[in-house]
């Protein structure tokens, strides 16, 4: 059962106790979010079952297809901004022809997964938290619990599958769109021909860059689903609580994406 009673503590007696309580609650929250994720992972064998496949397909569509528009816009402008900033710097040393290499490496290694993670956290993650939060305050989650319907299987697992598959796929798409954006800026602003741009783009890029970027995106997908579902299920106090859960989802997801992104980069590019 997902429905959990909120903890009832006496008010903290001093600031140190209040701080200690916050730390304990943060640790408990992290543990519960992780258990929720593990619970959903154990339900993965049912993703193609008659009871769940329609929900999985719906979530794949919602996360993947419905995010294409925003990912396209963010991707092309990210690539163009990278190209302008790096191109202008490289022009000072007469190396603007190398812009393809820098944009491609930048997109594949960092900006592609990072920007996709942020876009998905802000759009899909917040929507999941708001939906789960509303379901919690309107007793729908309690009703599922009482009907013996596993919330991990019915609600979390389809979203886990969708985010674990679609975040890496959208990242690859954003990488491509961003590199195209860089090419447009190179050709129109920096005088770099598309042939030279694409030649440099792939000459100094390695499969590892793509794989590590995709791995990051996969991790970001897991972060978003566990944070958003946990925040949604922990919602209290009606509409205000739903707003709070949505805000926390975006903030916590952004922070974890930044921090884990750094550690994955550090691990693979020492």
């Amino acid at each position: 059962m997902i429905t959990r009673e909120s903890q009832n503590y006496d008010p903290p007696v001093n600031p140190v106790a209040a701080l200690g309580r916050r730390v304990i609650e943060a640790c408990q929250g992290s543990g519960r979010a992780l258990l929720l994720l593990l619970g959903a992972i154990t339900q993965l064998p049912y993703m193609f079952s008659r009871k769940n496949r329609a929900d999985v397909m719906l979530q794949l569509y919602t996360v993947g297809i419905k995010s294409l528009g925003i990912v396209s816009v963010v991707g092309i402008f990210t690539g163009m901004i990278l190209a302008i900033q790096m191109g202008l710097a490289l022009r000072m040393v007469g190396q603007e022809g190398q812009i393809g290499t820098l944009v491609t490496n930048g997109m594949l290694r960092e900006m592609g997964p990072f920007m996709t993670g942020l876009v998905i956290a802000a759009s899909v993650g917040s929507a999941i938290a708001a939906q789960m939060g509303t379901m919690t305050v309107s007793e729908e989650i309690a009703a599922l619990d009482v009907m013996n319907i596993s919330v991990e299987r019915y609600l979390v697992m389809p979203r886990l599958v969708a985010l674990a598959i679609m975040t890496p796929m959208l990242t690859i798409y954003m990488d491509l769109i961003g590199i195209v954006g860089g090419c447009v800026v190179g050709a129109t602003m920096l005088g770099v021909s598309p042939e030279a741009y694409w030649d440099n783009a792939f000459r100094y890029s390695y499969n590892k860059d793509l794989y590590v970027g995709v791995l990051k995106a996969f991790i970001f997908g897991l972060i978003i689903v566990s944070v958003s579902c946990y925040q949604g299920f922990s919602t209290k106090e009606g509409a205000v609580g739903v707003g709070r859960a949505t805000r926390r989802t975006v903030i916590v997801s952004f922070l974890l994406i930044l921090m884990l992104g750094y550690f994955v980069t550090r691990l693979w590019y020492q």
Partner: protein, 254 residues
Amino acid sequence: MIRFEQVTKRFGSKVVLDQIDFEIEKGETFVIVGLSGAGKSVSLRHMIRLLTPEAGRVWVGEDCVSEASGTRLQQILSRFGVLFQSSALLQWLNVEDNVCLPLRQTTNRPDDEIRRLAVENLKRVGLEGVGEKMPSDISGGMRKRVGLARAIVTQPEIILYDEPTSGLDPVISRQIDLLIDSLRAQLGVTSVVVTHDLYSALGIGSRVAMLHEGKFVVCGTPEEFIASEHPVVRGFLQAQGIDSLQDIQKAFGK
């Protein structure tokens, strides 16, 4: 059927249930009344393990629901159907799919049979031809009926009603009351109703209990309830303009 044994529950410093003991017999309609915040819904939630007591135990038959877990808890919960105060319908499913949901997700029955049972139970609660509508397209009273159809589609032994008439006009409220009464007669289920509507309570209840400051101040038949001299009960009866049972029982055909 359901037994509370010295159950205590508090939220912060507020004691909501204070060592309460009571037993609900099989087949009866037990109604819990009380002021807002008296702990009526808290009692109900203990029966289905949405809350756990700080002290004491809650029994359902021979099983201690407050200590059960895993498959045992699932077996206990499968004996219950619950009508939540907000109806708790899933907003992205239409009426029929909402009623089908528990059977689809917890059994391997063929879909044709599940749909037939859903239509049958919607008909039982007086709803026909609304299966394709979304919950947002129907009235509050109809949503309660859909919630009730979903609660009974799994053929539970016990049905819990959390404020079944709250937010409804008096005419619809009476219809819901009569439906609760007829379901008890048709299905032979044990019913537990939480309400602040004394007219409903005295009309449908075989026993009525009043919760006040964590204790039951009276628990008995509607006749015993209305004869109680407890000041809180008297105040409650006066506030709702009830001084005799005759009119109520007549309205409920008793």
